[in-house]
Amino acid sequence: MPKDGGIGASSKRREDVRFLTGRGRYTDDINLNNQTYAWFLRSEVAHGTINAIDTSAAEAMDGVVKVFTARDFEGVGGVPCGWQVTDRFGNPMKEPKHPVLAEGKVRHVGDPIAVVVAESEAQARDAAEAIAVDITELPAVMDMKAALADGATKVHDDLDDNLCYDWGFVEENREAVDAAIAEAAHVTTLELTNNRLVANPMEPRVAVGDFNPGTEDYTLYTTSQNPHVIRLLMGAFVLGIPEHKLRVIAPDVGGGFGSKIYHYAEEAFVTFASAQVRRPVKWTSTRSEAFISDAHGRDHVTKIELAMDADHNFTALRCDTYANMGAYLSTFAPSIPTWLHGTLLAGNYRTPLIYTNVKAVFTTTTPVDAYRGAGRPEATFQLERVIDKAARELGVDPAELRRKNFIKPEEFPYQTPVAVVYDTGNYHATLDKGLEMAGVDTFEARCAESAANGKLRGLGIAHFIEACGIAPSNLVGQLGARAGLYESATVRVNATGSISVMTGSHSHGQGHETAFPQVVAEMLGIDEGMVEVVHGDTANTPMGMGTYGSRSIAVGGSAMVRATEKIINKAKKIAAHLLEASEADIELADGQFSVAGTDKSVAWGDVTLAAYVPHNYPLEDIEPGLEETAFYDPSNFTYPSGAYICEVEVDPDTGKVEVLGFTAADDFGNVINPMIVEGQVHGGVAQGIGQALLENCAYDENGQLLSGSYMDYTMPRADDLPMFEVDHSCITPCTHNPLGVKGCGEAGAIGSPPAVVNAVIDALHRGGHTHVTHIDMPLTPSRVWAAINGQ
């Protein structure tokens, strides 16, 4: 029977009621008394020297309070980077300054030059148009390989070149991998591009800064996935505001997908400016601004080589990647192509020798950082594409080639050659499940149906691994992270037994307000409705690292479990006192504390009341009150995995691809709320299909963004997608966190792009177009048609 509450129940989301009735409170819904409005004047050219900025006409316009330029930010820090990568020669990466407003040069279209603060948004916008900026345009730096050539135009004049770092991993394996490839019976090589994307949460970014002249406290309301991280980065590194004078609130946030992790210049601006003008300052991004100022994702150019022996065992893998950083280093940008990419190149396979080289390059484009999956989709795409190509070259079944090389269920825990240790998994089980769900045994009949209609049908398989819940802090510190990666929870039990859980994690669509109480309620045997989650405000939640990397339940949920365990321990002491029994004999079930082997019991509410009205209470042994905090620092990543199978139909006359079916068979370990988990997979798969078929962040050679609106950037719409078949019944629980959970937020976006592309290639081969071995994403009709026709 389905459970009706607690762990494993598809509890309906309580947050939905406010969202469905227009009573959500997103940042743009917040308007403060005496508020002013900021409008950013942004660079219209990709690269140029600023000769002069004349703000006099703007300053004279109606409603203008103040016009800001870089001159107003002298003495203010740059926007910091949160991860320092060390290159393969032992040197730190190049880390150019990222000013809040452009200093002397602009380096991408959208680079902010000046800001007008005015009485209304319309007045601020009008005045910004009156600012005269004299810029001498410089050549755009767009192609990564050309950017590294001798004599290339430099994005940052104070650096030697445009190379951020040249990273090798595992550097000691470099020669052994070369040798293994040279000796291999068969080597499959693939050159590919992982297309640049824009995250596009439906809520554009918003920031409201509010300086209180009386207390000299600052409050920043912002569309963030991690308000504590923003408080730390902005307070400590940009504006020099100590944490106790700075409160960051991320209220209801309308999606993030990575793009709202980072500390952005606009946040620092409104906070700083509110103290300058002594009034609140609000900035609301337009979608057009979002396209040029939100950090982009992906943008890797890769050559991958897979070596096999005569029996088709993988013997070595070599990956050479160029990773676009954009004009400045966004918060976590350097870690994406390195530690979140190189460590995943074993995939689900027993490949003994792996080497990856990554050259990170500055270009005159918007900064690039994590987007749903972040490094792991790039690793999975190249691996699952090259395996598919190898199967085709060898004339073997792509599922069989994968099975032959899978890590076997009995081999866990498994030490990969790329540092990480997989704790659990059963890849054979997920692949078998996925193939069964996808109806592979009747696929040939469906092919014949398509053929009869002049269409080409294809089936694509991908099997992915991801590393979630990034951890532990001491390890990531060694790898260059400038932050810890623990999570926190305070469980506050109120006198009458209701509970507030304050988490450092943050929900922007993931359903924490519903799923987190399921865990606490299950542990205590009480109704979920008695537990409420508080998140998103640094003033009333413990220091936490926020939500990204599928970490909320694995790390944040574990912190909540630890805090709840402390609550149970203390409550048992109180119950033992009330029941005049030994603490060791107290059992907690269904919200009742009882003495083992007797009918003596006391209810949850009696114990919690005693904690706050301690008349009959062991005051000599324990303090009154029932509130506990825990910080959880995981000992390893978690490793969700799964089989994704895509079925497509290609119209050979037009090149149009239609996704007819998509199956996801995932192993997420234990699942708290299946309904929410399935929703996460649906959304991730939609983004992955979007990357594979529709989405592309395109620049022209002058650095102008060609896909700068929803008229140009193809977001997946309802009629682009099928219903999805998803399953998470293959469960190998995580062994190192208390819930046995692995995380599910990014899986869909990681596993789906190679499944889609593999399916299209399969369709073309079945249609006799065997010359097509690869098409770069997105597989638009024009690209597919050109590939079919050899163009």
Binding site: P2, K3, G8, A9, S10, K12, R13, D16, V17, R18, F19, L20, T21, G22, G24, R25, Y26, D28, D29, N31, A122, N200, P201, M202, E203, P204, D252, G254, G255, F257, T286, R287, S288, H508, G509, Q510, G511, V671, P674, M675, I676, E678, G679, H682, G683, G684, V685, A686, Q687, S709, Y710, M715, P716, R717, A718, D719, L721, M723, F724, G748
Partner: protein, 162 residues
Amino acid sequence: MTSVTITVNGQSRSGDVEGRTLLSTFLRDQLTLTGTHVGCDTSQCGACVVHVDGEAVKACSVLAADVDGAEITTIEGMANADGSLGVIQQAFQDHHGLQCGFCTPGMVMSAAALLKENPKPTEAEVRHYLEGNICRCTGYHNIVKAIMAASGQDVAPPMAAE
């Protein structure tokens, strides 16, 4: 400035607007009906869909001054009289048809307009009708299910653990 009076969710509301003020801006900033969301600036995303005289309209594509005298329904007016969720709203909750909630007001308003003109749509008709509403979270799967369910057609419930 032009004076505009509209009936919103059954109540008469007035305000002074510039010629360029959009209906979405008027609803959000002057009438503080912040349930109507703005997700783009090219009338593509559909987060701002409201009903103007019974028709689904993107509020960012209409000037406030042009709807003087109109009857407007926003997401705030979609619940039952007793405050409980309306049929479409309840179906969205039952079938997990929303995650971050930002596109949701526009989705619900579009769904209501669809079911008014086509009470028993096919899945393909639902998907086609939602062409002007972008959701980044759900992959549309559960939105389509919710609308089908709201139309009284059978759909599978969300999977529950055994």
